[in-house]
C-alpha cells in the first residue's frame, strides 16, 4: 500500500528551516546544534536499535483461531513492556508516508505518557522528558515487533530511528482521541502529553474504532494554545483533511521559537486544558506562571 501523507523532514533537511537558518547567517539550527549530552544519549539509543526494526520471521507460525484472544495477548504484552495506550487498526494510505509503501495489513500504536509534572521545570526538563519517552517508545515498538515475528508473522517497528507511518491518522483511527487546534492529538486522560511507537504487521487482530468526545468542538472556542503561542503560529481557521478538522501550524512563525532558539518549545501542548483533569494542581501552577508573563511568552524567552 502506497502512502499519501507528506512527512516534513527534520533539521536542515527541512527546506523551510534551512531557508530560515541560512537567513540568519548560520549553517545549523540552534536547537539541533545545541544538543545536551542527555538528549544525545536518547537519540543514540533509537539509532542503535534501528537495525532491529525488521528481521527474521519464525518459520513456524502460531495459528490464530481466535483473533480476539490474540488481540488481547498483544495488548497485554505491550502494557507489560510499558505502553500506557495501545490501539490497533487496519493500515490505510493516509497512515503511510507519501513516497513510501508498507505491505502489512495492520498497525499497532503504542504510546507512553510523558510526566506532565516536568512542565514546571521549564523547557529543558520538558525536552528531556519528551526524548526519554521517545526512547522508551522505540524500545517498546522494537521488542513488540520481535515478539510478533517470533510468533511467525511479519512485523516492523516504526519509531524515531526509522518510520514509514504517520502518527496522527493512526491515533485517530485506533480511538486514542481527536486532533486538537495545536496540531497534536488529544486524549482525555493524557492530553497531548504522550509519544508513540508503532508496529505494522500481518498478524490478524481485532480493530479498535475512532472515538470522539468533543475535542474538536471544544478547540473551536478554547484558543488557549493559540493565545499562549509565542509566535502566533496556531491559526484561527481550519482545513478539512479526510473529513476531519485540522489546524495547520504556520512553521514560519513556529520555528523562530522552536528551532532557531536553543531551548525547546512545547507550550502549545503544555497549556492545553485537557491536561487539567489528570494534573489539576500542576496545570494551575503552570497557568499561573503563564499569567504572570501575560500568557504570551515574552520575546526574550
Amino acid at each position: 500500500m502506497h502512502g499519501i501523507t507528506p512527512r516534513r523532514e527534520q533539521g536542515m533537511a527541512d527546506p523551510v528551516l534551512a531557508q530560515m537558518v541560512r537567513a540568519t547567517g548560520a549553517t545549523e539550527s540552534r536547537h539541533y546544534a545545541a544538543v545536551k549530552p542527555v538528549i544525545q544519549a536518547y537519540r543514540a539509543s533509537w539509532v542503535k536499535i534501528a537495525p532491529r526494526r525488521d528481521g527474521h520471521v519464525n518459520a513456524t507460525r502460531a495459528q490464530v483461531t481466535d483473533s480476539t484472544a490474540v488481540t488481547a495477548q498483544i495488548k497485554a504484552k505491550a502494557v507489560e513492556m510499558g505502553a500506557d495506550l495501545i490501539g490497533i487498526c487496519r493500515l490505510q494510505p493516509q497512515m503511510i508516508d507519501l513516497g513510501s509503501a508498507v505491505e502489512h495489513e495492520f498497525v499497532i500504536a503504542c504510546c507512553v505518557a510523558e510526566d506532565y509534572e516536568k512542565v514546571l521545570g521549564g523547557p529543558d526538563a520538558v525536552e528531556e522528558e519528551a526524548m526519554r519517552t521517545y526512547a522508551k517508545c522505540a524500545e517498546l515498538a522494537t521488542e513488540l515487533a520481535e515478539y510478533i515475528r517470533a510468533m511467525g508473522y511479519p512485523a516492523r517497528a516504526h519509531h524515531n530511528g526509522g518510520s514509514e507511518v504517520q502518527a496522527i491518522p493512526i491515533f485517530y483511527q485506533v480511538g486514542f482521541g481527536e486532533l486538537g487546534r495545536h496540531g497534536s492529538l488529544i486524549n482525555e486522560t493524557y492530553g497531548a502529553s504522550f509519544r508513540p511507537g508503532f508496529v505494522t504487521t500481518d498478524l490478524p487482530m481485532v480493530e479498535d474504532r475512532p472515538r470522539e468526545f468533543g475535542v474538536q468542538d471544544f478547540c473551536m472556542n478554547c484558543n488557549v494554545c493559540q493565545r499562549n503561542c509565542p509566535g502566533d503560529a496556531i491559526p484561527q481557521d481550519y482545513v478539512m483533511t479526510h473529513g476531519i478538522k485540522r489546524w495547520l501550524i504556520d512553521l514560519e512563525k513556529c520555528y523562530p521559537y522552536s528551532r532557531l532558539r536553543e531551548e525547546y518549545c512545547h507550550l502549545c501542548v503544555d497549556v492545553c486544558p485537557y491536561n487539567v483533569k489528570s494534573h489539576p494542581d500542576t496545570y494551575k501552577a503552570l497557568m499561573k506562571q503563564r499569567k504572570q508573563v501575560g500568557y504570551k511568552t515574552p520575546k526574550s524567552y
Partner: protein
Amino acid sequence: MEKLYVNAVGPDGEVSTVGLFYSEAEAQRIVDLLRANPERPAYRYEIVPAERHTLSEKNTQRTR
C-alpha cells in the same frame, strides 16, 4: 515566505487538504509524488495560495 495549500480532490468532488507548503517547488514536488500514486488514479490535485484558500466545510461543499 510564500504559503500554499495542496488539496486533493476526490472522484466525488470532496476536497481534502494535504498540507501547507512554503514554496511552489515544495508544493509541486508533493503534487508530483501524489500523482505518481498508482492507487489513486481518480484523484486530482491543486495548489492554492493560502490567502485564496476557501476554508473548512465551505471548501468541502464547493465542488460537491
